[in-house]
């Protein structure tokens, strides 16, 4: 994580501290619909013994589209799509750089849990999330992937800091899903003979649960309403996935996103 990233997060926290006294006066605003578009910086920490015994890390850039719908009873529907590309590097050699692509698709429904505080709102529920993390060394000289298509528990906590400022934190914990990992030796005949359709392998997996994989998706969104239907959005996201299925793999992605929301 770079310094800019940190300063924005610190600033977000200070903003929410400064306005803490006024919180009770700020009733939570939940628009019926919110469309989100954001771009972001991604910094990943990566280790996958299928690809390499070495630790990798590296920066990348991504784009995110999302929709949130609040019902009259303040239940929340959300859909989100994300793609980022990055280059993973290891201190061992400048010749080991690996291209990495991440695709995420999320569907969720969280049910309103009434709180006494009118400036805050808690929602819990469930959803589905596809997570595909693909690594490629020199045009398929070595590849690996972590595909998880899983049902997950979700929770969202939203807090109105002031009239125009809002912060929301969300967490999603996948608990059961289709886990796609490369075969024991990296390749098999199916992959070699279908090398033009590698994407099929991201869905060629086994149904697994928390005994086999662990994952958490956490985000903090700070929103500033600068016009009647428009918000500025700054978000920090952490996506952490690990498994020991076939080969141990650990992935941690930190993302800082800047975007714009349209509410209606």
């Amino acid at each position: 994580m770079n310094r800019t990233h940190l300063w924005v997060l610190i600033l977000g926290s200070l903003l929410s501290s400064k306005t803490v006294e006024a919180q009770e006066k700020n009733e939570l605003k939940l628009p019926k619909n919110r469309l989100q578009l954001s771009v972001g910086y991604d910094h990943a920490y990566f280790k996958d013994y299928n690809l390499s015994p070495l630790n990798y890390k590296g920066p990348g850039y991504g784009i995110d589209f999302g929709y949130q719908g609040n019902t009259r009873k303040k239940h929340l529907w959300k859909v989100d799509f994300h793609h980022s590309s990055s280059t993973l590097k290891t201190p061992a050699s400048t010749r080991f750089d690996v291209d990495r692509d991440v695709f995420r698709f999320q569907l969720g429904y969280t049910h309103s849990v009434p709180l006494k505080n009118t400036s805050s709102h808690l929602r819990v529920g469930a959803g589905y999330r596809t997570y595909i993390d693909f690594q490629d060394f020199l045009e398929l000289n070595a590849i690996s992937y972590f595909g998880l298509h899983a049902f997950e528990l979700q929770a969202d906590y939203t807090h109105q800091i002031s009239q125009k400022h809002q912060i929301e934190t969300s967490i999603g914990i996948p608990f059961y899903g289709l886990l796609a990992r490369p075969p024991y030796s990296g390749w098999d005949k199916h992959m070699i003979e279908n090398a033009d359709n590698l994407v099929l392998n991201f869905f060629r997996g086994s149904w697994k649960s928390l005994n086999t994989f662990q994952a958490v998706n956490w985000s903090v969104d700070y929103r500033f309403q600068f016009a009647k239907h428009w918000e500025l959005n700054v978000a920090y996201q952490l996506h952490h996935y690990r498994t020991s299925f076939r080969d141990k793999a650990v992935i941690a992605s930190n993302q800082l996103q800047l975007g714009i929301n349209f509410t209606f």
Partner: protein, 355 residues
Amino acid sequence: MKQLILLSIILLLSVSCEKIFLGKDQVNDPENNFELFWKDFDEHYGLFQARGFNWDSIYSVYRPQVTQNTTDTELWDIMKEMITYLDDSHVFLADPTPLNTGQPVKLFVSGSEQNNQTEAEFSADLVQNSYLESSTHFSDDAESQVYFYGKLANKNIGYMYMNGMEISNNDFMDPILEAIGQHDALIIDLRNNHGGSDLTAAAMAGRFADGQHLIYTVQERNGPEQSDFSEKIEYYSGKSGNQHFDKPVIVLTDQITVSAAEVLLLHLNSFPNVTQIGDTTAGDFSDTGMRRFLPNGWQYQYSIFMFLLPDGSSLDGIGHVPDVYIKNTIADISNGTDKVLEHGIQYLFDTYGIE
């Protein structure tokens, strides 16, 4: 207070993410590099059983030679000797560091000691200039591909040469057979062929197939024990394409003929009209695994599959033994004579009366 906790968590994650999530990185010292290298082969190499290798003995011999004071040159030589033992041209060790100073990659390919000699015992230019009336190039436009076909001068015999087995269009044989399939016999020259795709081999073989036969099975290494393999996948011959050739076929081979070119021979040698002439092939059938990485910046690769004949035996390490053994010398090539090709032509005359 809540904000403080949040800030602390974020700061903690920011500062120490790598250690928290990934743990310590691999140590770059000679002993750890050796251990990673040996263990990776032990847990993934696919031919220990088929070729009767004792990889533990390699550990016993070479591990004591590696200490914290072992130099890069010494470690390179040790690892080179370890994979020389495997005599498998799908296994290599590479140090790409010289690229940083504009030098070529330092590379050692197992089982390749004789390659320079074998390369010099064949000349595609000699064939084109001295034996063919004319030749037509075909390929996927890769610079390394030397693929051509034509008609042998003053003979009713077609000829095609391939130095690899990598063509994306599986129907590439149809126009070739349209051009030279009318001749009484065909010579397929696989000398100096470095292999490629088994799919290309199967597509090519389909133009010569006389029916469906079980040709070979493939299993991939799927566990840490040297006997851990997946279920057998069966591969059959079968007619394919619009053009077929069922007249006499001569296949020319040498010690470089390897991998997918040997898979093509698995098919062709099961057909009664095919005769193999030349030298024994390399005996390296398996597809390679993925590129592997060491903390010292070196890379390597190994075989992960086991190819077996229908009776359960393996040709890995043996190769295809020709029906007629003959090879050129470097002097033959220098003198403008390709004895192997000439022997193929003579065989067609002696056996079938074709000239």
